[in-house]
Symmetry: C2
Subunit: 337 residues, 2 copies
């Protein structure tokens, strides 16, 4: 009789054992997979120490899940921004597509230079030229139409150096960091100077970041009826520039509380880095430093895109982590072998 009772206990014990093994396996997989494209070193260690401290109850650095908000710049932080912001690539392509409807562009900058393939000429048109370019390519359609234009562009456009789709030009270590933070109860936001409706069609798939967690520059939209069906028209009028000192304002407007984790890569992120690290509780700031001329690009102080000067100077004094892409990242792009 002892044996039979034992048989039943054994069945239960086997189940428990199987369950424990499953948990152990899951933990082991988890331990292996966290930030696996990051080199073992100070950068990875500091990030993990911050996440551990802020998610461990009972410690004085613990942060409740509601306040675990992480903000990420996009261009140069989550994906490449060289040889030019990818949104500029979109504008250049759109000008070529729209040119037949705009014969006047042949004589008008910056369109003339674009159509002649003269990027230096485009740069000469300055901020005024870029704004005009932005309005010509981003306004005049409904929000639904624009989303389709962007989606179609991402499906066909290719990066000039790698020949890969732009939405594959994302940094694997940063995608791992986003996953890791979310697995630890953080909500991850993009806070970018890029146009919000340019980014949204790709952020969910590329980063696991839904549309409502993308903060960016906006143009004015206007409610209208077409055959009694409501649409939102994109007007050629800037609503908000989410860059530099605009980033803390954008964070305040859209999120309404101060993040505790921030990642950027340029002086356009300087005020956001300051804002996040001025919070009363624990906070963490990191700068992606582009140091890898072979696998990506090497640039900082004199770059036209992603100039990193002031933030780099102050990083040590402010205890901001500077991530060296060449040394700290074992892998950069998803398509690398």
């Amino acid at each position: 009789m002892r044996m039979h009772a034992h048989r039943s206990d054994t069945r239960l014990a086997s189940l428990v054992l199987a369950f424990l093994l499953l948990i152990a396996a899951a933990n082991s997989v988890f331990a292996q997979e966290v930030l696996s494209s990051w080199s073992d070193g100070a950068a990875k260690t500091r990030i993990m120490a911050f996440v551990k401290a802020t998610t461990t109850e009972g410690t004085d650095r613990y942060v409740a899940p509601d306040d675990r908000i992480a903000v990420f710049d996009n261009d140069g932080t989550l994906w490449s921004e060289q040889p030019f912001y990818f949104q500029l690539g979109f504008m250049l392509d759109r000008v070529k597509v729209l040119a037949p409807q705009h014969p006047e562009w042949k004589a008008k900058e910056p369109f003339k230079s674009i159509l002649a393939g003269d990027l230096a000429g485009v740069a000469k048109s300055g901020e005024k030229g870029i704004v005009e370019l932005g309005m010509a390519t981003h306004a005049g359609m409904t929000t639904d139409e624009f989303a389709k234009i962007v989606t179609d562009w991402f499906a066909t456009a290719r990066h000039p150096k790698t020949g890969k789709p732009y939405n594959e030009m994302t940094f694997v270590p940063m995608r791992e960091l986003l996953d890791y933070l979310r697995a630890n109860g953080f909500r991850t936001y993009i806070v970018s100077g890029g146009g919000v409706e340019f980014m949204r069609p790709m952020t969910e798939k590329a980063y696991g970041i839904p549309a409502e967690q993308v903060i960016g520059s906006t143009i004015v939209t206007q409610y209208d009826l077409v055959d009694d069906v409501p649409v939102l028209r994109r007007l050629p009028k800037i609503d908000f520039i989410d860059d530099g000192p605009g980033k803390p304002s954008g964070i305040n407007k859209f999120i309404g509380r101060r993040p505790i984790f921030v990642a950027g890569n340029s002086d356009g992120d300087y005020e956001m880095l300051r804002w996040v690290t001025a919070g009363k509780g624990p906070s963490f700031a990191m700068i992606v430093h582009h140091t890898d001329a072979t696998r990506e690009y090497a640039y900082d102080r004199k770059s036209a895109f992603g100039k990193l000067d002031k933030a780099l100077d102050e990083a040590a004094q402010r205890n901001w982590l500077v991530v060296d892409m060449k040394d700290d990242w074992k892998k950069i792009y998803p398509f690398e072998q």
Copy 2:
């Protein structure tokens, strides 16, 4: 031996039974609690039918969790807006607090009328006067300072009719609806003409809606340093009015996708109701109709606050649910017996 094996099986069976009972109890509690302040009738039935259809996989009206977004007007929809918008109550109180620092207000409208307790005089100052009043009471401080001012006000101010704190003047059936939608995988947003930084200090506790899911009117904020500490200053300049046709724009800007559920109570919500119900998939719109002069207020077409005219006229034709507060709600306020 059979007996002993049986003893072990019995233990297991007891556990399973206890577990099933627990589930049954939980379900029963759930069934009792869903929309319990709503009368059994067409309104409640229609709401529950929509939620069931959109959350049942395999049906043609099923909506994936990512797209289950519900938007709610605040004033008159989630809480009362009578005898005046509560944010106006805040402004009136602030003018009294700030008056000693502004001797010039004694001779200047709308401040003069406010200090004389003459609400009709305030109304006479028109939109220009109200904007001036808003700027005088909402700008000139940092965002942190303003949050404290609002929090302190909510802690002490009382509704002129009920004598209750304003954040208890919320509608219990709507709070139940928010809970019910969230329990079914919806994300609930406020989309209000009210100031976003006026609402955020109370929405989490009152509605379970976190700061980042509150969309409202905004003023311009500016990044600044005080003793080398970053602050955001609230400037006396309107950034965005989230009302009427502005509501679809606000939804697009902040959420970036079209909600499938909307609740409003006035013509200021008309375009938002149109926008949501013009989506390609299933959608649901409801209007809170203030019909209860005894427990709350009765008003619609001629009201200064919460005028409901066009939306009411078109509700039947557009299949928008009109909720009759008197008949459809068994309870209105949390403090009712």
